[in-house]
Symmetry: C2
DNA sequence: CCCGATGTTGCACAGCTGTGCAAGGACCCG
DNA sequence: CGGGTCCTTGCACAGCTGTGCAACATCGGG
């Protein structure tokens, strides 16, 4: 009798639980399957034995039988930076709530390792893949389609797959009009050479709307869409003879770089000398050092719609791909309106 | 013959590849197993057929047989915030490089869902679990031990499991001595009521060293260890009659809150009126708005040692748990030394 | 008391892979 | 040409679970 082996090494199987509970292995399986036909007392016996042995249903075998697992892949480059970090956190929380297990595939690794990780998504029969950024190799998209694995993209419209996006054009156009409504006509754009679809949309819509309304608009782009990129763009914009009176930044990190360069390198005041608008509304935007006016994206809302996509796709795999477009609402803070009251009256140093 | 079904639905199995390649199923399995005994031409035939059909080895079956998988769980609360975001990114990259698939279990979910997610780690026979923060329920630790699943903790010494930590005490003591060496004797500590082990170590070591050296040191704690918490602590520290001349903050986010409160709410200059030291050296610390002196933790270095722990533990499961202790080096910036040259000469606004 | 219905349980199979074992073939050396 | 050795290949089994199907028990009603 192997009743006394405590499972010190290896895992406990349903067979061992069945022996200890004095029932068949099927009964154990049914006890752990909601809605299966088991008597209450049998289930009770099984559960007690399972608890004593520390039994966990083997999801590998379960998934092998069902030919699908509860894993979901999240593909992202630099998942620790800016808005994306919040998106990843919201998505993992939502997926766990749904009963899934979210993978995080960090695209920063080498190409070979990355491909291996993506292949593993199929190897483990992942329920779906969610693409946050970075373009997956075409072979990956092809494989997903072939194996019937749902592919959901966020912020970029991969052809033929569900996606949820924010209305970048509308927000960027609104930014241009906001500046003009305040009488600011020399406009600047702080963009990025990284060329993400969202970034490009924001850049083009802002420039287009500004020029359509007869304003002057110059663009400067840093290497990446981060703080350093914002400083690089600012270095160009503020060195011009007719420096812009207002700058729209394609995300908040860039805006922080622009603001800091304006203040600490060019001695400009924000918003008196230059107004600044960002995008994303990450928590840092409300810090006293910045008080940045920006367009809010709600990570939780995006996560909710992503999970809804997932539910719909699994329910009807053949349905046509659909798109959810969310609106980014403007949040005004001190970087645009000089009249905004400071959070508390300033005291002078001794 | 089912040679022509393109696998439009469902996944391709090794059996189908074998038929197409005209070999046995074992040959397919061996072709995908490094070091197995296969002739080059057979492997070639198999690989061609596999590529044509889009075959992926079923890792569920493979893991079922081996009774272990390539999955690794990362358990973290608020994985999007501060240093932890960088740690998560570094760990996922290192794990992918090692051939693992990193799960991200976001402890922010409800307890029931969290327990389900952690149970799934055993269900999928994860190779190991890495705990970044948040105390796992005792039942989880017990289960891990029972099933022989390695448990690695970062920053907190879970009894009986490998861990890697930074020498918080040494750094905090160094901070106290640094202030005193500059002639600053009224010291403040900005801590947090969250009570994370690392935080507590930093708090106690700083206070202890300061008092040991005869300095006056007062502590103030915000609710959480983030920006808002720093502001709350500052509200207490700077309202005192003998406000501190220098504040040690248990992490950088708290330091930003303290600095902003000092400047924008109390009109104090940093470092002339109050010197500030943080902890972590996240990228924001080098931004022009803060230029924060702080203790550097290198996420990549921590990730390397974590993976090394993992390798060692899997090689010899019975070995005694070991600890790696890293040193946090001080990085001096403008928040402590007023003599530090500003990044570029300031220009006055018009 | 007997019959039907309902609920419960066990058997056996499917799902896919890795690998020990034995058999077969090729090759080399004497 | 013969024998031995090594490489390669196919067979069959193990690993763990979910579930259809048939058998069994239990219970209620006539």
């Amino acid at each position: 009798m192997s009743l006394t082996d405590d499972g010190v090494r290896g895992f406990v199987s349903a067979q061992q639980v069945a022996e200890r509970a004095g029932v068949s292995r099927s009964a154990v399986s049914r006890a752990f399957t909601p809605g299966a036909s088991v008597s209450p007392e049998t289930r009770e016996k099984v559960m007690r034995a399972a608890a004593e042995l520390g039994y966990q249903v083997n999801d590998l075998a379960r998934g092998l039988l069902a030919n699908r697992s509860r894993l979901v892949g999240l593909v992202a480059t630099r998942p620790e930076v800016g808005f994306r970090a919040h998106l990843v956190a919201a998505l993992t929380a939502a997926l766990i709530r749904r009963g899934n297990l979210p993978f995080l595939i960090n695209t920063g690794s080498s190409t070979a390792e990355l491909e291996a990780a993506q292949a593993a998504l199929f190897g483990y029969r992942a329920e779906a893949t969610i693409i946050l950024s970075g373009s997956p190799p075409a072979s990956f998209v092809e494989l997903a389609r072939r194996n019937g694995q749902p592919l959901i993209s966020i912020g970029r419209s991969e052809p033929g797959c569900d996606h949820v996006k924010v209305d970048n054009e509308a927000a960027a156009r609104e930014a241009a009009r906001l500046f003009l409504a305040r009488g600011l006509t020399r406009l600047g754009l702080a963009g990025s050479a990284s060329g993400t679809p969202s970034i490009v949309e924001r850049e083009q819509a802002f420039l287009d709307e500004a020029r359509r309304l007869g304003a002057q608009a110059v663009a400067a782009r840093g290497a990446d869409s981060d703080y350093a990129g914002g400083q690089q763009a600012a270095q160009v914009l503020f060195a011009m003879v007719d420096r812009p009176q207002a700058v729209f930044c394609v995300n908040d990190l860039i805006a922080f770089g622009v603001m800091d360069a304006a203040r600490h390198r060019f001695g400009l005041r924000v918003p008196e000398d230059v107004a600044v608008i960002g995008f994303d509304d990450i928590p840092e935007a409300s810090w006293d050092a910045y008080r940045l006016s920006t367009f809010r994206q709600d990570p939780a809302e995006i996560a909710v719609h992503t999970v809804a996509h997932l539910d719909r796709r699994l329910a009807s795999p053949g349905a046509a791909p659909s798109t959810v477009r969310l609106r980014a609402v403007f949040v005004e803070r001190a970087s645009t309106s000089s009249s905004t009251t400071s959070s508390s009256p300033r005291q002078t140093a001794e």
